[in-house]
């Protein structure tokens, strides 16, 4: 069952390999068209509000970094090629956005024309934006499948590509909204509206936004492509259900439900954010966990057959199974052997993951075995021979508590600054 959930690819996805796929050139043309369209829009915004546009690009550009790292880290064992991650991000930021701008406006107008301006004011954004944007983003994951089907070899891969498409869309949309807020404020080229938009859309709404919806859709496409042991109707149904889930989450987020909040104050605003954002976030986290565990089981099984403690020990196999345990192993190494130990464990885990992937494709090259042994040697020299998770330390517990308190404080300040308190 696990083997059916993971289908290792035989080759990479270098640009030269992608260029040999005819569909890639169609996708490249779409990216070029999207880039031209968005460059025209950016030129107009930057021409009128140069400082605000630059501030928005810098702020949301910085916000991209942690999101990118988290999404790319989701599939630690079988990392997606950087070329395809960039392609997914570019699709979201260039193609999906440039298509969504005219299409969402048109659909919202149709709601007003066929219904009423009142209906459009209340439900226009909730009906138009999810229908258009989720479709345009889904096509981004479909495009990845068309140009590099072999690189979508687990449900988790679909999640990663979908999340990257969503992230690209989210960042570019946020920049456009931030400069739009500057225009609406009518105070000239000021950055205060950009900062307010950053707090609201980047910080408070960022976690349960397009990245999340994209991940959900991606899981469906991943299932459709990978689970060839299931009937086509079943796979298609799962993909449609995932799309519907993303669409419904987006509708709920944009809907006027709870629009008047749960009262006044930061707590009430936080309550609304949680009520609208937490269900899809929880759903995606459960999905990611399941997909990750299935993939991890598959690759750990490959490593288990190696039966060489120089390459991987029983304890390391257990640590490699879960993201939390991998992180715990790095922390433990950091406590025992400092930063060098932490770095060495990370490299050993990466080498072991690479070995697992190569073993699943065919016989792994000798260089990969040598690489793992090299990292083992370094760890041994550092006096920490095994990359296993240590006992939970008080420092880690204290650091978790402090981080949580700081996060709540920052959230509170952001909510208060936006008029919640």
């Amino acid at each position: 069952m696990t083997a059916a959930a993971v289908r290792p690819s035989a080759g990479g996805a270098r640009l030269s390999a992608l260029a040999r796929v005819p569909a890639f050139w169609v996708v490249a043309a779409l990216l070029l068209a999207g880039a031209i369209r968005m460059a025209q829009l950016a030129g107009r915004l930057a021409g009128t509000y140069p400082i605000a546009t630059a501030a928005a690009v810098v702020l949301f550009g910085l916000l991209t970094v942690p999101f990118w790292l988290v999404v790319a880290e989701l599939d630690f064992l079988e990392r997606e090629p950087i070329e395809l991650l960039v392609l997914a991000f570019a699709w979201g930021g260039l193609v999906a956005t440039s298509v969504s701008i005219p299409a969402s406006t048109a659909l919202e107008d149709l709601v007003a024309k066929l219904g009423s301006p009142h209906l459009a004011a209340d439900w226009g954004a909730a009906l138009a934006a999810p229908s258009v944007e989720e479709t345009a983003k889904t096509l981004g994951v479909v495009a990845i499948v068309l140009v590099a089907r072999a690189q979508v070899n687990s449900v988790l891969d679909g999640v990663v590509y979908g999340a990257m498409v969503g992230l690209g869309f989210q960042i570019v949309e946020d920049i456009v909204f931030a400069v739009g807020a500057v225009a609406l404020a009518g105070q000239g080229d000021q950055i205060q509206p950009v900062i307010a938009t950053f707090l609201l859309r980047g910080f408070l709404s960022g976690v349960w936004s397009h990245t999340l919806f994209g991940a959900l859709v991606g899981a469906g496409i991943g299932y459709l492509v990978v689970r060839r042991d299931r009937r086509p109707a079943h796979r298609l149904g799962a993909a449609l259900l995932a799309f519907l889930g993303a669409w419904a989450s987006h509708v709920l987020w944009n809907s006027p439900l709870l629009g008047d909040g749960l009262g006044n104050g930061a707590l009430a605003l936080l309550g609304v954010l949680l009520l609208k954002g937490l269900p899809p976030l929880a759903l995606v986290l459960v999905l990611v966990r399941r997909a990750h565990d299935r993939e991890a089981d598959y690759y750990v099984e490959r490593l288990n057959k190696v039966c060489d403690p120089e390459l991987i020990t029983e304890g390391e196999l257990e640590a490699l199974r879960s993201g939390a345990k991998r992180a715990a192993a790095r922390r433990y190494a950091g406590e025992r052997a400092g930063r060098a130990g932490r770095r060495a464990v990370r490299r050993l885990q990466s080498a072991q993951a690479r070995l697992a992937v190569e073993l699943s494709q065919a016989a792994a090259p000798a260089a990969t075995y040598d690489d793992v042994r090299e990292h083992r040697k370094l760890l041994r020299e550092l006096g920490h021979p095994e990359a296993i998770a240590g006992p939970r330390s008080w420092r880690h517990t204290a650091s978790t508590i402090v981080t949580t308190v700081v996060a709540i404080a920052v959230l509170w300040v952001a909510l208060s600054a936006l008029g919640g308190a």
Binding site: A23, L30, D109
Partner: protein
């Protein structure tokens, strides 16, 4: 010349399917939207609710542009059309005074390339006693008038624009309509 495999052909067809869907979204939806009329008649004998507790009696013969009109609880926009003349009213939360509101609206008008404000601002008032500031602006091929009011924590911005001749003909009716602007008196 290299032959295209069945798999490549299928992926190429799939890519064209993607292009067709995107085309449907980007061009098809706007085309359907354009095929339906933007405006619908509006009664000139009763107040129209713009949003945020603000009402206005529309000018006789005006139509309502439903693509721009968006009533709401804390904000609202209504666009009336009289031939080529556009008469737009926007209500938004605002915590400044009338002078600041006037300044903000002038900023927004001049932020559009080719738009310039003309002449000084004059004091105006509605029949219900709302005080406002009125000014003029010019745009390529069009002239405009703006009026701004501040009441109960919100700003009411009126912008009127059209070709000189049409604007001159419609202005008396529009000014009469503007004088009927009313708020519900509740703080927002």
């Amino acid at each position: 010349m290299a032959r295209i495999t069945r798999r490549e052909l299928m992926s190429l067809l799939g890519a064209f399917g993607v292009v067709a869907t995107l085309g449907g979204l980007a061009f098809g939806l706007p085309a359907i939207d354009r095929s339906l009329p933007d405006t619908r008649p509006v009664r000139a004998d009763e107040p129209y609710v713009i949003g945020a507790g603000v009402t206005v009696v529309p000018p006789t013969g005006a139509t309502l542009d439903v693509t721009v009109t968006r009533p709401g609880g804390s904000t609202g926009t209504a666009l009336f059309r009289l031939g080529s003349v556009q008469y737009q009213i926007a209500v938004r939360p605002f915590d400044g005074d009338l002078r600041a509101a006037g300044e903000r609206l002038r900023h927004r008008i001049t932020a559009t390339s080719g738009y310039q404000v003309t002449g000084p601002q004059l004091r105006v008032a509605t029949a219900g006693g709302l005080d406002g500031l009125q000014g003029g602006y010019s745009a390529p091929g069009r002239s405009g008038r703006y009026v701004v009011f501040v009441a109960d924590g919100r700003t009411i911005e009126v912008t009127i624009s059209g070709a000189d001749l049409d604007l001159g003909r419609s202005l008396p009716q529009i000014e009469a309509s503007t004088r009927t602007l009313q708020t519900d008196g509740r703080d927002r």
